[in-house]
Symmetry: C2
Subunit: 386 residues, 2 copies
Amino acid sequence: MRKVAIIGIGMTKFGEHWERGFRNLVIEAGIKAMEDSGLQGNEISAGYVGNMASGSLIGQEHVGALIADQMGLNPIPITRVEAACASGGVALRQGYLAVASGAHDFVVVGGVEKMNDLDTTSVSEILGGAGDEEWELFLGATFPGLYALMAKRHMYEYGTTEEMMASVAVKNHEHGSRNPYAQFQNKITIDTVMNSKMVADPLKVFDCSPITDGAAAVVLAPLDVAKKYNAQPIEIVASVQISDTIALHSREKLSEIKATKIAAQKAFEIAKITPKDINVAEVHDCFTIAEIMAIEDLGFFKKGEGGKASLEGKTGLNGEIPINTSGGLKSAGHPVGATGIKQAVEITWQLREKAEARQVADAEIGLTHNVGGSGATVVVHIFKKT
Amino acid sequence: MRKVAIIGIGMTKFGEHWERGFRNLVIEAGIKAMEDSGLQGNEISAGYVGNMASGSLIGQEHVGALIADQMGLNPIPITRVEAACASGGVALRQGYLAVASGAHDFVVVGGVEKMNDLDTTSVSEILGGAGDEEWELFLGATFPGLYALMAKRHMYEYGTTEEMMASVAVKNHEHGSRNPYAQFQNKITIDTVMNSKMVADPLKVFDCSPITDGAAAVVLAPLDVAKKYNAQPIEIVASVQISDTIALHSREKLSEIKATKIAAQKAFEIAKITPKDINVAEVHDCFTIAEIMAIEDLGFFKKGEGGKASLEGKTGLNGEIPINTSGGLKSAGHPVGATGIKQAVEITWQLREKAEARQVADAEIGLTHNVGGSGATVVVHIFKKT
């Protein structure tokens, strides 16, 4: 298997794009990534796109072919993959495998979701399809409810508090305020979160990531030719996808995401590093409790200490391990199919030292962590400056 | 890239499975394929599943993880791919690439669709998402309408008649009557088709494939170890996926599927054979006109002569090139995500000489042709007896 690098990145601003459609978002991200890569369109020989639910959200399936068409890339194959909120991460892994295997040299990988064309109740039901439709959603357990169960259990087992969870949102809004691509660029306080409307006890509205429109794209190349095209290729040193039970009630523990633990362990083995070697990470904070579990399950903090570490500022820009410099899903937004790709875009900016007001000093190695559903799919990527 | 073989196959009966759910269908096909392969579950290291629209049809996305869970295959990655009615073919190609590249040794590839849980109007709209939602479906052009336009143009350019189209349905029902897995096992006549209800002029209800529940699965292995597991491994000698414009109105011609022509040409080049070397083929007859265009665009007959060849019986079991021995989409049924895999299962039965009452004599090389939408994605595979 060949070494693989990112040579181009691009994304739209994340937010509520009432005036724009799915195609328009895809094209902006795709063209930016292509321009950044230094490649011509006819040098690309395959593509992958992560998209969760365009069929339900906008009535359009078959978005791989749609994107090949809109990007002027016919007749090359562009393949849509779906793994709920991990669709982007899974697409990146498929693109990585396509280049690593030698099947293709230059591959574009995108992620996109247009979510604001329906009312939020409908969107919430559609997102419920990321879990067990028959045994969770049908009985009323939407995602805030599922993550609230995990939060309650984490609080019970480890003494995690609502203030600790709130501190995750505060930190991510602080980061988001430095990211011109973020959906929310306003700073908030612990009180903002604590006084916000309850969604599913103990999760309040500021513990939850928003409904977002957006797209992101990367261009991949074999590492050995990457420097011909881009002065700062970023190597993908590990790409791991792990499955777990679709339903939360089938898991051994509610206070951890087992697939995150397995994926991280495998990724660190492949990259021959430990969690301590990671300088910056984008993790899947669909809810504040999800970030706390992630930084524990990825090995950045001991199990049960993620909440305390967050409250103490250890995950801020100048902390021990800066987490979600983009603002994360909470503040940068969560267009579900795009999130996994946006994470890779942010880490690429960081490792290129192009993250401007949110730059982490001396970032050499970065990690992305993308979760589908309540943890039934987890994708972990590790990236390295070259 | 390594050579790849099919070492296990399995499928459910196709039909209206009112008493069964999505999961149940997947499990039957998957277990049959695993048993046929001679592998243990823990030898499988990755999976792919083709599924078009479970989000809209049954409210369940994230079906890769769901299937990993239901099949007891956690924590390996199972990745859902979607390319409308070509989802199965695209999944097979991803599985092929995973084994060919050396990324994985043993891979299970499934296809599934549960379509009968909604009324047919809703299903027809959902299927419309395989085309251009904004410029076709929104304006009323569902798939029978799009293929009717192609049929009208084919009739105008080549003198194709409604009787010629009807003869495709008659032949496929004849084949389906010999296939215990087929949705319709009744024989029909030209009159049955000609006197059936008009759907979209000139296509009558017997020119159209039905709405179907079903699942199919194959197990792939590197060819060099395949014989250890199965006495009759079938080699995949070419796997090609091609994109074209999503909307029919953007095509240069209405009377051909350009992506079929390109995919076939590439596949024959890779396999170093010509259309004359194919002994048996499963082609995408979502409508009778689609089979006529397919057998022309694949190179089995000269352009414009597919209708006449069909009427003359050249595509029957004892014809020049037996087409759709399974009964095709028309008679065996069309659970959209499963169709591309079912085609591979049928060709495997043929090349193993296990197709019983529909066996083609001396079949050595087979082909499958799977179309997404009105031709925006085409996948062609070529298979060879080993």
